[in-house]
């Protein structure tokens, strides 16, 4: 048979049309978040995310046959199950259906893959461990030595931990991540969460749906946990619009047992307070905000009178309003609200966060490094040891560099390195300070 090129092209076009163009807009958005997460994490090592979903035995058979064994002085050795392979980086393993599969690390940490869970250790160094969770549930007990930064990727989500104990369940087909923290703190970033992510403390249960971009946060119990107590003072929950103050204002939110967090699908904000509906019976801006309808929320707020809202709203509501504007991409409005928030509630811890956010808007969206630098400096002046101090210092350095202020950039880089020698901007700081290669 010989087919004319033109016919084959027509056939191919028809076939391409039938096959479709790929992922849905929601899935593309998830991919975007995953990519942004990769970029911001500076993940340049070859982190293969493909999940062959091998059985543990098969994976190890392949691993033992073809593994790239090497020993670096800073490597963190680990073994999978009872097989004492020295290193098995980048090999996907899957726990059998009948029993869990433990992965033991030399520092005493242990990650247990529950039945049918597939995961791999991308890289394991004493200062940094990267793990990819392809599917299923892991129980992680990370040694609290504090030396190693652990990052676990699950689809568009990234979990960063130091010493902690938690369970993470990732359903890749639904793009659903459930995280339950038993001890310590876990920072979760990615789709549906703002760029800062959300820090979970002991007892917190996060349910995040990447496709629907829904996030729910519940507290099942507050365990006595020294780590969590010391960390939680610096927790920033603003990423999902659940300010600390709200939770503290309502002690029930700390104590209430909510066994079925998954069914809720929404943030437990407002604590059941009856919300006033608009005269026309339409939902208020705050109700729209709670439904993640940020654009509509801002439109409703503007119709109601944004200036008046900014003057009269409570601290919490004004923060929500800023959050809605930011999520709706209305950055001028967000800037306006955040600036007002700082003026009206200057003593609130969120006022410092507002400065940081204003810096980010100036830098990332308005490409105005000078103004961004001013806001990052403001944040650092006001919250030198705040939860975003490292990030603010790193961004300040970049803003100076981008703005052509080489001397200040170098000075800030050296300052950053002295304070955060293993921080996420450390490599860049070395480069800017002139110590890099």
């Amino acid at each position: 048979m010989s087919i004319e090129d033109k016919s084959l092209e027509n056939f191919g076009r028809q076939m391409a049309k039938d096959i479709g163009a790929g992922s849905s807009p929601e899935e593309l958005k998830c991919q975007e978040e995953a990519f942004v997460s990769l970029v911001s994490a500076g993940m340049s090592s070859p982190a293969r995310r493909l999940a062959p979903v091998l059985s543990a035995a098969a994976a190890l058979a392949i691993g033992l046959a073809s593994l790239y064994f090497f020993t670096r002085p800073d490597s963190l050795s680990f073994r999978i199950g009872q097989v004492t392979s020295e290193r098995a980086e980048n090999v996907w393993v899957k726990a059998p259906t009948e029993e869990p599969l433990p992965v033991y690390f030399a520092d005493g940490s242990q990650i247990t893959l529950n039945a049918n869970t597939a995961m791999r250790v991308v890289r394991a160094d004493v200062d940094e461990v990267y793990i990819d969770l392809s599917q299923g549930e892991i129980d992680a007990m990370i040694n609290s030595g504090g030396e190693t930064r652990w990052t676990m990727h699950a689809g568009p989500y990234r979990m960063t931990v130091l010493g902690t104990s938690f369970t993470a369940n990732w359903t890749s087909s639904e793009m659903v991540l459930d995280v339950t923290v038993h001890k310590g703190v876990v920072l979760v970033q990615g789709a549906g969460l703002n760029d800062h992510g959300i820090k979970l403390a002991a007892g917190d249960v996060l349910h995040a749906n990447g496709k629907r971009r829904l996030v729910s946060l519940n507290t099942i119990t507050r365990q006595h946990d020294t780590d969590a107590q010391s960390w939680s003072s610096s927790i920033d929950r603003s990423a999902v619009g659940t300010p600390d103050q709200d939770r503290q204002a309502d002690p029930k939110s700390e104590l209430t047992i909510r066994p079925d967090s998954r069914s809720r699908g929404k943030l437990p904000s407002h604590h059941g307070r009856s919300l006033r509906r608009s005269p026309a019976g339409q939902p208020t801006w705050i109700e729209l905000y709670q439904q993640d309808r940020y654009g509509e929320a801002i439109d409703r707020a503007k119709a109601q009178g944004l200036d008046q809202l900014m003057r009269t709203s409570s601290k919490r509501d004004l923060w929500y309003l800023a959050d809605a504007a930011r999520n709706a991409g209305q950055l001028a409005t967000a800037t306006n609200i955040l600036t007002t928030y700082r003026r009206r509630f200057s003593r609130s811890p969120k006022a410092h966060l507002a400065a940081f956010l204003l810096g980010r808007i100036a830098f990332e969206h308005r490409r105005n490094p000078a103004r961004a630098a001013r806001w990052f400096k403001t944040y650092l002046n006001e919250a030198k040891n705040g939860p975003l101090a490292e990030e603010a210092l790193g961004r300040l350095m970049v803003a100076y560099d981008e703005g052509g202020a080489a001397t200040q950039a170098q000075k800030t880089a050296r300052q950053y390195l002295s304070r955060h020698p293993k921080g996420s901007y450390a490599k860049l700081a070395k480069y800017i300070a002139g110590d890099g290669k």
Binding site: G12, I19, G22, E27, Q31, E32, R48, H365, R366
Partner: protein, 208 residues
């Protein structure tokens, strides 16, 4: 800061997504781990990368993982990009090579572990006939050598020109031409065994 000051401060703030970055700015931004660059890069290339992976592999349980891997490969090799003006071709090339590696790995993997997690092309409940065509089409593609399969998809499904195929596969023009010819012949020799696909092809009327 008083209200007037705030207004002055905001006088030049407008709701725009930000200026389109040049290729050079985009690459530099990615190297510097800037999220705005990541977002613009995705807006410019994300849908294309996704579509290319989708069509090269067919609907696949590992689709999102593979797209993710393309991004990982882009980030890990972007410093080696020499021709900034050819960023678009380079992205195609990274995607092509990532999928090619995966397809080759699958062949090896199947020797050791029977594959059970791969699904055929997208099911369309509203049009099951279409789903049959697509399944059979990918079954034919699966019989081809990896390189032939990919070139066939690029040329005939994606409608890539000779030059674009050459850039994606990093071939010379003459090699690309030869490989397209071989891919076409290989496809023809196998599709002939599938009467349903032959009937579809005949509907395009130029089969001899």
């Amino acid at each position: 800061m008083n209200q007037k000051g705030v207004k002055n401060e905001l006088a030049d703030v407008i709701d725009l997504p930000g200026p389109a970055l040049s290729n050079q700015e985009l690459v530099r931004g990615l190297i510097r781990r800037e999220t705005y660059a990541a977002r613009q890069f995705h807006q410019r290339f994300g849908a294309r990368i996704d579509r290319l992976v989708w069509r090269l592999l067919g609907a696949d349980t590992e689709h999102h993982d593979l797209v993710h891997q393309v991004y990982v490969n882009i980030l890990s090799s972007i410093r080696s990009l020499r021709k900034i003006e050819s960023l678009s071709d380079w992205v195609n090339s990274v995607t092509f090579r990532t999928v090619r590696k995966e397809l080759r790995n699958r062949k090896v993997r199947r020797l050791m572990v029977p594959s059970t997690d791969h699904v055929d092309a997208a099911e369309d409940n509203a049009n099951p006939q279409k789903a049959v065509y697509i399944r059979r089409f990918y079954a034919v593609l699966a019989q081809l050598e990896v390189e032939d399969r990919m070139i066939f998809v690029l040329r005939y499904l994606e409608g890539h020109s000779l030059e674009e195929v050459a850039a994606a596969g990093q071939y010379s023009l003459s090699t690309a031409k030869r490989r397209i010819k071989r891919a076409k012949e290989e496809f023809e020799s196998r599709v002939i065994t599938d009467p349903i696909l032959v009937s579809v092809l005949k509907s395009f009327s130029h089969v001899h």
